[in-house]
Protein backbone atom coordinates (compact mmCIF):
# COMPACT_ATOMS: atom_id res chain seq x y z
CA UNK A 1 0.00 0.00 0.00
CA UNK A 2 3.03 2.25 -0.03
CA UNK A 3 2.11 3.98 -3.27
CA UNK A 4 -1.41 4.74 -2.04
CA UNK A 5 -0.07 6.78 0.87
CA UNK A 6 0.71 9.80 -1.24
CA UNK A 7 -2.56 9.68 -3.10
CA UNK A 8 -4.84 12.66 -2.62
CA UNK A 9 -8.56 12.04 -2.68
CA UNK A 10 -10.26 14.16 -5.33
CA UNK A 11 -13.37 16.13 -4.45
CA UNK A 12 -15.73 14.36 -6.82
CA UNK A 13 -14.82 10.76 -5.90
CA UNK A 14 -17.07 9.54 -3.12
CA UNK A 15 -15.15 7.76 -0.43
CA UNK A 16 -17.08 5.38 1.68
CA UNK A 17 -16.40 2.55 4.00
CA UNK A 18 -16.46 1.67 7.64
CA UNK A 19 -14.27 2.98 10.33
CA UNK A 20 -14.45 1.00 13.52
CA UNK A 21 -13.15 2.79 16.54
CA UNK A 22 -12.87 0.71 19.67
CA UNK A 23 -15.15 2.25 22.25
CA UNK A 24 -14.78 1.97 25.97
CA UNK A 25 -11.68 1.35 27.96
CA UNK A 26 -8.54 0.22 26.20
CA UNK A 27 -8.07 -2.68 28.58
CA UNK A 28 -7.43 -2.97 32.30
CA UNK A 29 -5.53 0.29 32.12
CA UNK A 30 -6.49 3.57 30.59
CA UNK A 31 -3.01 4.30 29.34
CA UNK A 32 0.02 2.16 28.75
CA UNK A 33 1.77 3.20 31.97
CA UNK A 34 0.23 0.34 33.95
CA UNK A 35 2.28 -2.05 31.85
CA UNK A 36 5.16 -1.16 34.14
CA UNK A 37 3.28 -0.52 37.33
CA UNK A 38 4.75 -1.95 40.53
CA UNK A 39 3.33 -5.30 41.57
CA UNK A 40 1.91 -3.89 44.78
CA UNK A 41 -0.41 -1.67 42.76
CA UNK A 42 -1.67 -4.62 40.76
CA UNK A 43 -2.35 -6.60 43.93
CA UNK A 44 -4.14 -3.71 45.66
CA UNK A 45 -6.24 -2.99 42.61
CA UNK A 46 -7.40 -6.59 42.35
CA UNK A 47 -8.06 -6.88 46.08
CA UNK A 48 -10.19 -3.74 46.02
CA UNK A 49 -12.16 -5.07 43.06
CA UNK A 50 -12.90 -8.29 44.95
CA UNK A 51 -13.96 -6.36 48.06
CA UNK A 52 -16.27 -4.14 46.03
CA UNK A 53 -17.97 -7.19 44.57
CA UNK A 54 -18.63 -8.66 48.00
CA UNK A 55 -20.34 -5.42 48.98
CA UNK A 56 -22.42 -5.53 45.81
CA UNK A 57 -23.67 -8.99 46.66
CA UNK A 58 -24.83 -7.91 50.08
CA UNK A 59 -26.77 -4.99 48.60
CA UNK A 60 -27.88 -6.29 45.22
CA UNK A 61 -28.65 -3.18 43.23
CA UNK A 62 -28.25 -2.95 39.51
CA UNK A 63 -24.58 -2.42 39.14
CA UNK A 64 -22.15 -3.26 36.44
CA UNK A 65 -19.20 -4.01 38.70
CA UNK A 66 -20.14 -7.66 39.21
CA UNK A 67 -20.84 -8.10 35.56
CA UNK A 68 -18.20 -6.09 33.73
CA UNK A 69 -15.03 -6.77 35.70
CA UNK A 70 -15.52 -10.37 36.56
CA UNK A 71 -12.99 -12.31 38.57
CA UNK A 72 -13.09 -15.72 40.20
CA UNK A 73 -11.15 -15.00 43.39
CA UNK A 74 -14.27 -14.41 45.47
CA UNK A 75 -15.92 -17.66 44.39
CA UNK A 76 -12.69 -19.55 45.11
CA UNK A 77 -12.39 -18.15 48.63
CA UNK A 78 -16.08 -18.72 49.36
CA UNK A 79 -16.01 -22.25 47.96
CA UNK A 80 -12.97 -23.21 50.00
CA UNK A 81 -14.33 -21.74 53.25
CA UNK A 82 -17.74 -23.35 52.73
CA UNK A 83 -16.14 -26.71 51.97
CA UNK A 84 -13.87 -26.40 55.02
CA UNK A 85 -16.81 -25.63 57.29
CA UNK A 86 -18.86 -28.48 55.85
CA UNK A 87 -16.29 -31.16 56.35
CA UNK A 88 -16.23 -33.56 59.20
CA UNK A 89 -19.98 -33.97 59.33
CA UNK A 90 -20.39 -37.46 57.93
CA UNK A 91 -21.36 -40.55 59.87
CA UNK A 92 -18.13 -42.39 59.17
CA UNK A 93 -15.13 -40.40 60.20
CA UNK A 94 -12.57 -43.02 59.30
CA UNK A 95 -11.25 -40.75 56.62
CA UNK A 96 -10.74 -37.15 57.57
CA UNK A 97 -13.63 -35.83 55.51
CA UNK A 98 -11.57 -36.08 52.37
CA UNK A 99 -14.18 -37.10 49.81
CA UNK A 100 -16.73 -34.77 51.33
CA UNK A 101 -14.48 -31.78 50.83
CA UNK A 102 -13.95 -32.58 47.18
CA UNK A 103 -17.68 -33.27 46.83
CA UNK A 104 -18.64 -29.78 47.93
CA UNK A 105 -16.09 -28.35 45.56
CA UNK A 106 -17.33 -30.36 42.61
CA UNK A 107 -20.99 -29.63 43.37
CA UNK A 108 -20.41 -25.89 43.49
CA UNK A 109 -18.22 -25.57 40.41
CA UNK A 110 -19.95 -28.18 38.29
CA UNK A 111 -23.33 -26.78 39.27
CA UNK A 112 -22.26 -23.28 38.32
CA UNK A 113 -20.93 -24.49 34.97
CA UNK A 114 -24.16 -26.34 34.20
CA UNK A 115 -26.29 -23.28 35.04
CA UNK A 116 -24.11 -21.13 32.83
CA UNK A 117 -24.38 -23.57 29.94
CA UNK A 118 -28.13 -23.69 30.45
CA UNK A 119 -28.48 -19.93 30.29
CA UNK A 120 -26.24 -19.72 27.24
CA UNK A 121 -28.24 -22.41 25.46
CA UNK A 122 -31.41 -20.46 26.20
CA UNK A 123 -29.93 -17.54 24.32
CA UNK A 124 -28.57 -15.42 27.13
CA UNK A 125 -26.25 -12.54 26.36
CA UNK A 126 -24.05 -12.99 29.38
CA UNK A 127 -20.61 -14.48 28.94
CA UNK A 128 -19.44 -17.73 30.49
CA UNK A 129 -17.10 -16.29 33.09
CA UNK A 130 -19.41 -13.43 34.04
CA UNK A 131 -22.08 -15.94 34.93
CA UNK A 132 -19.64 -18.08 36.93
CA UNK A 133 -18.52 -14.92 38.73
CA UNK A 134 -22.05 -13.89 39.72
CA UNK A 135 -23.07 -17.36 40.83
CA UNK A 136 -19.89 -17.76 42.85
CA UNK A 137 -20.12 -14.42 44.59
CA UNK A 138 -23.79 -14.98 45.47
CA UNK A 139 -22.75 -17.99 47.57
CA UNK A 140 -21.67 -15.41 50.17
CA UNK A 141 -25.01 -15.29 52.10
CA UNK A 142 -24.99 -19.08 52.32
CA UNK A 143 -21.44 -19.08 53.64
CA UNK A 144 -22.56 -16.64 56.32
CA UNK A 145 -25.46 -19.00 57.07
CA UNK A 146 -23.00 -21.88 57.44
CA UNK A 147 -20.95 -19.86 59.89
CA UNK A 148 -24.03 -19.01 61.93
CA UNK A 149 -25.16 -22.66 61.88
CA UNK A 150 -21.83 -23.86 63.17
CA UNK A 151 -21.95 -21.33 65.99
CA UNK A 152 -25.52 -22.31 66.87
CA UNK A 153 -24.53 -25.99 66.86
CA UNK A 154 -21.78 -25.22 69.35
CA UNK A 155 -24.49 -24.11 71.73
CA UNK A 156 -26.55 -27.27 71.33
CA UNK A 157 -28.32 -29.44 68.78
CA UNK A 158 -31.92 -29.66 69.96
CA UNK A 159 -35.17 -28.58 68.35
CA UNK A 160 -34.67 -24.91 69.14
CA UNK A 161 -31.29 -24.86 67.47
CA UNK A 162 -32.80 -26.64 64.45
CA UNK A 163 -35.53 -24.02 64.13
CA UNK A 164 -33.02 -21.20 64.38
CA UNK A 165 -30.83 -22.82 61.77
CA UNK A 166 -33.81 -23.43 59.51
CA UNK A 167 -34.84 -19.79 59.63
CA UNK A 168 -31.30 -18.54 59.00
CA UNK A 169 -30.69 -20.93 56.12
CA UNK A 170 -34.03 -20.17 54.44
CA UNK A 171 -33.41 -16.43 54.74
CA UNK A 172 -29.91 -16.65 53.30
CA UNK A 173 -31.08 -19.00 50.55
CA UNK A 174 -33.70 -16.47 49.52
CA UNK A 175 -31.10 -13.71 49.61
CA UNK A 176 -28.66 -15.68 47.43
CA UNK A 177 -31.29 -16.59 44.88
CA UNK A 178 -32.67 -13.07 44.68
CA UNK A 179 -29.20 -11.53 44.39
CA UNK A 180 -28.09 -13.80 41.59
CA UNK A 181 -31.42 -13.55 39.78
CA UNK A 182 -31.18 -9.76 39.90
CA UNK A 183 -27.93 -9.94 37.98
CA UNK A 184 -28.55 -12.85 35.69
CA UNK A 185 -32.19 -12.73 34.66
CA UNK A 186 -31.86 -9.44 32.84
CA UNK A 187 -29.64 -10.93 30.22
CA UNK A 188 -32.41 -13.24 29.11
CA UNK A 189 -35.38 -12.66 26.84
CA UNK A 190 -38.51 -12.05 28.98
CA UNK A 191 -40.37 -15.27 28.28
CA UNK A 192 -37.34 -17.31 29.26
CA UNK A 193 -36.68 -15.85 32.67
CA UNK A 194 -38.32 -18.67 34.62
CA UNK A 195 -36.32 -21.25 32.67
CA UNK A 196 -33.13 -19.54 33.74
CA UNK A 197 -34.13 -18.88 37.33
CA UNK A 198 -35.19 -22.39 38.28
CA UNK A 199 -31.72 -24.02 37.94
CA UNK A 200 -30.28 -21.21 40.06
CA UNK A 201 -33.00 -21.94 42.62
CA UNK A 202 -32.07 -25.63 42.52
CA UNK A 203 -28.36 -24.92 42.84
CA UNK A 204 -28.70 -22.81 45.96
CA UNK A 205 -31.28 -25.23 47.31
CA UNK A 206 -28.78 -28.09 47.16
CA UNK A 207 -26.15 -25.99 48.93
CA UNK A 208 -28.68 -24.90 51.57
CA UNK A 209 -29.67 -28.52 52.07
CA UNK A 210 -26.05 -29.50 52.67
CA UNK A 211 -25.76 -26.69 55.20
CA UNK A 212 -28.99 -27.49 57.00
CA UNK A 213 -28.34 -31.22 57.30
CA UNK A 214 -24.84 -30.73 58.60
CA UNK A 215 -24.35 -32.41 61.97
CA UNK A 216 -20.91 -32.36 63.50
CA UNK A 217 -19.32 -35.42 65.09
Amino acid sequence: FADLAGMAVAEDIPVEGEITVPVGAHGPDEDHSTLDEPVRDTIMRDLKAVGKKFVHVMYPKKSSALLRDWDLWGPLVLCVSLALMLQGGSADSKEDGGPQFAEVFVIIWFGAVVITLNSKLLGGTISFFQSLCVLGYCVLPLTVAMLVCRLVLLAGSGTVSFIVRLIVVVAMFAWSTLASTAFLADSQPPHRKALVVYPIFLFYFVISWMILTFTPQ
Partner: protein
Protein backbone atom coordinates in the same frame (compact mmCIF):
# COMPACT_ATOMS: atom_id res chain seq x y z
CA UNK B 1 16.78 -7.66 35.21
CA UNK B 2 13.83 -9.14 37.04
CA UNK B 3 15.24 -11.81 39.35
CA UNK B 4 12.30 -11.61 41.76
CA UNK B 5 9.75 -12.08 38.99
CA UNK B 6 11.69 -15.04 37.59
CA UNK B 7 11.86 -16.60 41.02
CA UNK B 8 8.14 -16.24 41.66
CA UNK B 9 7.26 -17.44 38.17
CA UNK B 10 8.82 -20.77 38.97
CA UNK B 11 8.24 -20.84 42.72
CA UNK B 12 4.46 -21.31 42.81
CA UNK B 13 4.35 -23.84 39.98
CA UNK B 14 7.16 -25.98 41.31
CA UNK B 15 5.87 -25.82 44.89
CA UNK B 16 2.45 -26.97 43.73
CA UNK B 17 3.98 -29.96 41.96
CA UNK B 18 6.26 -30.82 44.88
CA UNK B 19 3.42 -30.53 47.39
CA UNK B 20 1.26 -32.79 45.25
CA UNK B 21 3.99 -35.43 45.02
CA UNK B 22 5.05 -35.35 48.65
CA UNK B 23 1.84 -34.40 50.41
CA UNK B 24 1.99 -37.51 52.57
CA UNK B 25 5.24 -36.34 54.11
CA UNK B 26 3.93 -32.89 54.99
CA UNK B 27 0.60 -33.70 56.53
CA UNK B 28 -1.86 -36.51 57.05
CA UNK B 29 -4.82 -34.39 56.15
CA UNK B 30 -6.20 -34.56 52.62
CA UNK B 31 -7.99 -31.27 53.09
CA UNK B 32 -4.89 -29.32 54.07
CA UNK B 33 -3.00 -30.61 51.05
CA UNK B 34 -5.90 -29.92 48.72
CA UNK B 35 -6.33 -26.36 49.93
CA UNK B 36 -2.59 -25.66 49.89
CA UNK B 37 -2.11 -26.94 46.35
CA UNK B 38 -5.22 -25.11 45.16
CA UNK B 39 -4.01 -21.84 46.67
CA UNK B 40 -0.55 -22.32 45.15
CA UNK B 41 -2.09 -22.98 41.74
CA UNK B 42 -4.30 -19.88 42.02
CA UNK B 43 -1.42 -17.64 43.07
CA UNK B 44 0.63 -19.08 40.24
CA UNK B 45 -2.12 -18.37 37.72
CA UNK B 46 -2.54 -14.80 38.92
CA UNK B 47 1.16 -14.00 39.09
CA UNK B 48 1.98 -15.51 35.70
CA UNK B 49 -0.96 -13.80 34.03
CA UNK B 50 -0.60 -10.38 35.61
CA UNK B 51 3.01 -9.96 36.60
CA UNK B 52 5.64 -12.27 35.18
CA UNK B 53 4.26 -12.24 31.65
CA UNK B 54 4.51 -8.50 31.25
CA UNK B 55 7.80 -8.21 33.14
CA UNK B 56 9.72 -11.07 31.58
CA UNK B 57 8.48 -11.21 28.00
CA UNK B 58 6.29 -8.14 27.55
CA UNK B 59 3.14 -10.09 26.73
CA UNK B 60 -0.30 -9.68 28.24
CA UNK B 61 -3.79 -11.04 27.73
CA UNK B 62 -7.12 -10.32 29.33
CA UNK B 63 -10.85 -10.47 28.88
CA UNK B 64 -12.93 -7.41 28.38
CA UNK B 65 -16.67 -6.88 28.38
CA UNK B 66 -17.82 -3.96 26.31
CA UNK B 67 -21.02 -1.99 26.71
CA UNK B 68 -23.12 -4.46 24.78
CA UNK B 69 -22.14 -7.17 27.21
CA UNK B 70 -20.10 -9.03 24.64
CA UNK B 71 -16.87 -10.46 25.84
CA UNK B 72 -13.63 -10.04 23.97
CA UNK B 73 -10.32 -11.71 24.61
CA UNK B 74 -7.52 -9.26 23.98
CA UNK B 75 -3.95 -10.35 23.38
CA UNK B 76 -1.19 -7.80 23.53
CA UNK B 77 2.49 -7.95 22.72
CA UNK B 78 5.01 -5.25 23.49
CA UNK B 79 7.31 -4.33 20.67
CA UNK B 80 10.83 -4.85 21.96
CA UNK B 81 13.56 -3.40 19.85
CA UNK B 82 16.57 -4.74 21.75
CA UNK B 83 17.08 -8.24 23.03
CA UNK B 84 19.82 -8.32 25.64
CA UNK B 85 21.32 -11.59 26.81
CA UNK B 86 19.64 -11.34 30.21
CA UNK B 87 16.18 -10.87 28.68
CA UNK B 88 16.83 -13.86 26.42
CA UNK B 89 17.62 -16.01 29.44
CA UNK B 90 14.55 -14.75 31.29
CA UNK B 91 12.35 -15.39 28.27
CA UNK B 92 13.72 -18.91 28.00
CA UNK B 93 13.00 -19.61 31.67
CA UNK B 94 9.52 -18.16 31.24
CA UNK B 95 8.60 -20.34 28.31
CA UNK B 96 10.18 -23.49 29.75
CA UNK B 97 8.27 -23.06 33.01
CA UNK B 98 5.10 -22.30 31.11
CA UNK B 99 5.27 -25.39 28.92
CA UNK B 100 6.73 -28.06 31.18
CA UNK B 101 4.35 -27.72 34.13
CA UNK B 102 1.05 -28.35 32.29
CA UNK B 103 2.70 -31.43 30.78
CA UNK B 104 3.57 -32.66 34.27
CA UNK B 105 0.01 -32.06 35.48
CA UNK B 106 -1.32 -34.02 32.49
CA UNK B 107 0.92 -36.91 33.51
CA UNK B 108 -0.54 -36.63 37.04
CA UNK B 109 -4.02 -36.73 35.52
CA UNK B 110 -3.42 -40.08 33.89
CA UNK B 111 -1.63 -41.53 36.90
CA UNK B 112 -4.50 -40.46 39.17
CA UNK B 113 -7.06 -41.86 36.78
CA UNK B 114 -5.41 -45.23 36.39
CA UNK B 115 -4.46 -45.67 40.02
CA UNK B 116 -8.07 -44.76 40.91
CA UNK B 117 -7.15 -42.16 43.51
CA UNK B 118 -10.15 -40.23 42.34
CA UNK B 119 -10.38 -37.76 45.19
CA UNK B 120 -7.36 -35.97 43.73
CA UNK B 121 -8.90 -35.80 40.28
CA UNK B 122 -10.70 -32.51 40.87
CA UNK B 123 -7.45 -30.89 41.94
CA UNK B 124 -5.48 -32.23 39.00
CA UNK B 125 -8.13 -31.04 36.57
CA UNK B 126 -8.08 -27.60 38.19
CA UNK B 127 -4.29 -27.53 37.87
CA UNK B 128 -4.37 -28.52 34.22
CA UNK B 129 -7.02 -25.95 33.30
CA UNK B 130 -5.32 -23.06 35.10
CA UNK B 131 -1.89 -23.73 33.67
CA UNK B 132 -3.10 -24.56 30.19
CA UNK B 133 -5.12 -21.33 30.16
CA UNK B 134 -1.98 -19.31 30.77
CA UNK B 135 -0.04 -21.31 28.20
CA UNK B 136 -2.73 -20.81 25.57
CA UNK B 137 -3.07 -17.11 26.34
CA UNK B 138 0.62 -16.42 26.03
CA UNK B 139 1.07 -18.49 22.88
CA UNK B 140 -1.79 -16.52 21.35
CA UNK B 141 -0.08 -13.27 22.39
CA UNK B 142 3.21 -14.39 20.92
CA UNK B 143 1.74 -15.49 17.61
CA UNK B 144 -0.40 -12.37 17.42
CA UNK B 145 2.62 -10.18 18.09
CA UNK B 146 4.54 -11.59 15.19
CA UNK B 147 1.79 -10.79 12.74
CA UNK B 148 1.55 -7.33 14.24
CA UNK B 149 4.55 -5.62 12.68
CA UNK B 150 3.01 -5.41 9.22
CA UNK B 151 -0.35 -4.38 10.66
CA UNK B 152 1.06 -1.43 12.53
CA UNK B 153 2.67 -0.01 9.43
CA UNK B 154 -0.45 -0.54 7.32
CA UNK B 155 -2.60 1.26 9.89
CA UNK B 156 -1.14 4.56 8.82
CA UNK B 157 -2.63 4.14 5.37
CA UNK B 158 -6.17 4.38 6.62
CA UNK B 159 -7.77 5.40 3.34
CA UNK B 160 -6.65 2.20 1.69
CA UNK B 161 -7.55 0.05 4.66
CA UNK B 162 -10.95 1.45 5.57
CA UNK B 163 -13.28 -0.65 3.38
CA UNK B 164 -11.60 -3.81 4.56
CA UNK B 165 -12.19 -3.35 8.27
CA UNK B 166 -14.90 -5.40 9.81
CA UNK B 167 -16.52 -4.89 13.18
CA UNK B 168 -15.78 -8.47 14.10
CA UNK B 169 -12.07 -7.91 14.49
CA UNK B 170 -12.21 -5.57 17.42
CA UNK B 171 -9.54 -7.43 19.32
CA UNK B 172 -7.04 -6.98 16.54
CA UNK B 173 -7.96 -3.32 16.23
CA UNK B 174 -7.22 -2.93 19.89
CA UNK B 175 -3.86 -4.58 19.41
CA UNK B 176 -3.09 -1.95 16.82
CA UNK B 177 -4.05 0.81 19.22
CA UNK B 178 -1.83 -0.71 21.85
CA UNK B 179 0.93 -1.36 19.39
CA UNK B 180 1.08 2.34 18.67
CA UNK B 181 1.14 3.40 22.31
CA UNK B 182 3.62 0.73 23.31
CA UNK B 183 6.36 1.81 20.95
CA UNK B 184 9.24 2.81 23.17
Amino acid sequence: RHPLATFFHLFFRVSAIITYLFCDWFSNSFVACFVTILLLLSFDFWSVKNVTGRLLVGLRWWNQIDEDGKSHWVFEAKRVSTTAASTEAEARIFWLGLIICPVIWTVFFFSTLFSLKLKWLALVIAGISLQTANLYGYIHCKLGGQKNISRITSKFFVTADVPKRQTGRISEDRIEEHGKTCIR
